[in-house]
């Protein structure tokens, strides 16, 4: 089987380009990985050139020695998935705790409002529990990835769990919040319009939830790409 499977005549730029298309993860970490691979291939090409190969042949030899694109991409992707998961877990934990504190302050700013249906109290507590338990689970995932990753045979699994946890936790907390808003629309409108800061918190919440959903989806995707090769497609 050709080393650069499906791309037998790639030069260094071509190999790095195709590798880059297969890698997903935080932008800076991904750029670092690709630059390091490019440096390594340039070094190997230089070594072949010193031994007499012309530049094109030197690059082709360096790429051939480097290894199958699929296998190298999966190994590097696994590390990028861990990076993405650390990022997602840290921001999820921070944002969910911050939102919990901010909304407590927002509602505390209007102690005069007290006509909400009884179900609102239950929904409020449920939203708090969902948000804070998701934050705690993300912190636990972050701890595992940060301090015990050497014990994890397949760290991309933890990355996948962190991504799915973020999506489910944020989705569930957002749903209960929206139901609470609809059930208690009059008080919610009164709170949000009573001070500019309260409206700003609502905008921050929308932006934060959107960012967490995007980060969670990236985490799941990065973990999937770093998993084992699909059955029937052995990598050389």
């Amino acid at each position: 089987m050709s080393t650069a499977e499906g791309f037998p005549e790639l030069d260094v730029e071509g190999y790095v380009h195709h590798l880059g298309q297969r890698l997903r993860g935080p932008g800076r970490a991904r750029r670092d990985v690709l630059q390091e691979v490019r440096d390594g291939l340039d070094d190997a090409s230089d070594a072949h050139a010193v031994q007499g190969a012309d530049r094109r042949e030197a690059e082709r030899l360096a790429v051939a020695e480097f290894g199958a694109l699929d296998r190298i991409a999966r190994e590097l992707q696994r590390e990028l998935a861990v990076r993405q998961a650390r990022w997602t877990a840290a921001w999820s934990a921070l944002a969910l705790v911050l939102l919990w504190l901010l909304w407590d302050l927002v509602w505390a700013s209007r102690p005069d409002l007290g006509g909400a249906p009884p179900v609102v109290g239950g929904l409020s507590r449920l939203t708090d529990v969902l948000g804070l338990s998701t934050a705690a689970a993300c912190l636990a995932g972050l701890g595992l990835l940060q301090f015990r990753s050497s014990l994890l045979g397949r760290p991309e699994r933890i990355a996948s769990v962190v991504g799915r946890l973020t999506l489910c936790g944020v989705g569930a907390a957002t749903t209960t919040s929206l139901v609470m808003t609809v059930v208690n629309l009059r008080d919610t409108a009164a709170v949000l319009t009573s001070a500019p800061l309260n409206g700003a918190v609502a905008c921050f919440t929308l932006a934060g939830v959107g960012a967490l959903v995007v980060s969670g989806r990236r985490c799941v995707r990065a973990a999937e790409l770093g998993g084992p090769a699909p059955a029937g497609r052995p990598t050389p």
Partner: protein, 110 residues
């Protein structure tokens, strides 16, 4: 010696050549080749993911620096990496002692 024979030992070899001085990826490959007098030819593409795994585990620390006028990601051993290397050496000595005892016994009588 092919890549298959090195399976399971790649990380230890990388740690060993980083013990003397910080190196970038290709310098790690060259150092292994030189120390083994050319007998160990690492699969070059496997070294970079291995360095990242070691960095994730806290055994090496990577940073960008200028090497021979070019910006390179170089890796240095951490305290945890030194401990892991010592442990790897102990495991290797036990392994060669046990396997050598079996193989050497037959050779001695043959």
């Amino acid at each position: 010696m092919d890549a298959e024979a090195l399976r399971g030992h790649l990380e230890s070899l990388v740690l060993a050549v980083l013990e003397d001085e910080p190196r970038h990826g290709y310098a790690v490959i060259e150092a292994v080749r030189e120390r083994s007098a050319g007998a160990l030819a690492l699969n070059t593409g496997s070294v970079y993911p291995a360095l990242r795994r070691l960095e994730r585990d806290g055994f090496v620390r990577g940073s960008w620096s200028l090497v021979d006028g070019r910006r390179r990601r170089t890796y240095r051993l951490t305290g945890a990496g030194e401990a892991e290397l010592a442990e790897s050496r102990q495991r290797w000595r036990r392994f060669t002692s046990v396997v050598g005892g079996v193989l050497g016994g037959q050779g001695a009588t043959g």
